[in-house]
């Protein structure tokens, strides 16, 4: 029994990890693009981007998952997700959009948090725009965004469990199946170990980064 459960949970863990990694891979850079969009000097673009951010951050990810997965089939009478891994792709799309919006707000705070005086000091010293970005402001931004980013990324670990609403058997779903089939609950506690280990590792990682950047203020 133990091995059956372990095997099944490992499959669920694979799905959860896939969602986690792919979401980070795409939403980290996309978030930066959205951040620049929301700060654009072209006002209509900034307004539109901020509206999108507001909608995405103001509604549950679960709702967004359902709409993105079921929406196309029902509206366009053509289910764009009707290929073998379509479910997973739809899930990643929803997660990426959602997390990119959250990250964009954090990036923006980091960018705007570096005082204008820092850039001006660089300008007065004859630095080019790219020298100012790479040598002066970048590291200060990174330092500012690490704590909120680590919170968000740890939330993502746990949010992957939402994928079950579009019938992806992530780890909790895999554990829950044993309640119905075998009447046992311990696989659910088993899944908790996965989350605790993931969150523990990430916490160690981010603490290390924060410590590395603590030499300046």
């Amino acid at each position: 029994m133990f091995w059956t459960v372990t095997l099944s949970l490992f499959r669920g863990m694979g799905e959860a990890l896939e969602i986690f990694c792919l979401t980070l891979l795409f939403s980290l850079p996309l978030g930066l693009v959205i951040a620049f969009g929301s700060m654009s000097r072209f006002k209509p673009l900034a307004k539109l981007v901020n509206l999108i951010i507001w909608v995405i951050r103001g509604t549950p990810l679960m709702l967004q998952l359902l709409i993105i997965f079921y929406g196309p089939g029902l509206w366009m009478e053509n289910n764009i997700w009707a290929f073998s891994s379509g479910r997973m792709v739809a899930c990643i799309v929803a997660f990426v959009i959602n997390y990119a919006c959250y990250f964009s707000v954090i990036y923006r705070g980091g960018i705007e948090g570096v005082s204008r005086g820092q850039r001006e000091a660089g300008q007065v010293l004859g630095m080019t725009k790219s020298q100012i970005f790479f040598k002066v402001t970048l590291l200060q931004m990174v330092k500012r965004i690490v704590p909120p980013m680590s919170n968000e990324i740890i939330t993502l670990v746990k949010d992957t469990s939402l994928a079950r609403v579009i019938a992806i058997t992530e780890i909790i779903k895999a554990g829950e199946n044993f309640i119905k089939s075998d009447g046992i609950i311990w696989p659910l506690f088993y899944t908790a170990v996965y989350y605790l280990i993931m969150v523990g590792l990430l916490t160690i990682l981010f603490n290390a980064i924060e410590r590395k950047l603590s030499y300046f203020r």
Binding site: A121, G126, Q140, R217
Partner: protein
């Protein structure tokens, strides 16, 4: 020939005219103090000289060569501005040191970026010499947050000097400091004046301005009300506005 000549400089933000018809000149080795009440446009003037603001009218000449001419829009590329602003150095009221670099690296960063070919050890030695002049040799490896305000401002002065600007500008260099720390910064500026550094100092330290400067400008509401030697401005001001301003400072 004057090292700096400012002719009919104008600056407005929207409808607000902040600088009106500003003209003055400065000789090499002179120290010029600019005094005036809050909002009179002193900071804006320094920012215009350092190309942080673009004037709406007028000209700026260095050694007789125009480096800025409001009528000529051709020469405003980033690259050219970058070169031209190096005639000036600027020390900010709020220091604006780079927090992630040590005192020495703050001083040498821009020099290293501009002279990629030069040996780093040579640049560092120059930086150390500058810090020594500021009385900060023992603080070279400290980060800004480990330094007092007065020490930070002295690092900022060394950083500006490292690029050997023709004219060093100070915008209220001691206003952000506790009274007991202003002395050490003023001492450094005084030493620079004695070494014939060409400087423009915006300050509210009247007795200091009177002591160190060769020339004083009093500004009010965006115009130069009075300019001349410290004697002229502090002892025999010709305008009522100057007298009123000075009496408020108990001179």
């Amino acid at each position: 020939m004057s090292i700096l000549e400012v002719c009919n400089l104008e600056k407005h933000f929207g409808d607000v005219e902040v600088l009106k018809n500003i003209s003055f000149s400065l000789e090499k080795g002179e120290a010029l103090s600019i005094i005036g009440s809050s909002g009179s446009g002193k900071t804006t003037l320094l920012r215009c000289l350092n190309f942080l603001e673009t004037p709406n009218g007028g000209r700026i000449l260095i050694n007789g060569n125009p480096i800025f001419d409001a009528a000529d829009h051709a020469s405003r590329s980033d690259e050219e501005i970058r070169k031209k602003r190096l005639h000036f150095g600027l020390v900010f009221q709020s220091f604006n040191l780079f927090p992630q670099y040590t005192a020495l690296d703050n001083v040498t960063l821009a020099v290293k970026l501009q002279n990629k070919g030069r040996p780093v050890s040579e640049i560092n030695a120059e930086g150390m010499a500058l810090l020594e002049r500021m009385g900060l040799a023992d603080r070279a490896g400290h980060y800004p947050h480990q330094l007092s305000g007065g020490q930070q401002q002295r690092v900022a002065i060394a950083r500006a000097l490292a690029l050997s600007p023709d004219i060093l500008c100070f915008d209220e260099p001691t206003s952000a400091l506790d009274p007991e720390l202003t002395g050490e910064v003023l001492k450094v500026i005084r030493a620079l004046a004695e070494q014939e550094t060409t400087m423009i100092i915006v300050t509210h330290e009247m007795s200091f301005a009177r002591d160190v400067s060769d020339k004083v400008i009093f500004m009010d509401e965006g115009v130069i009300v009075e300019q001349g030697t410290p004697e002229d401005v502090f002892v025999n001001p010709s305008s009522e506005r100057t007298r009123q301003f000075l009496s408020r400072y108990g001179e």
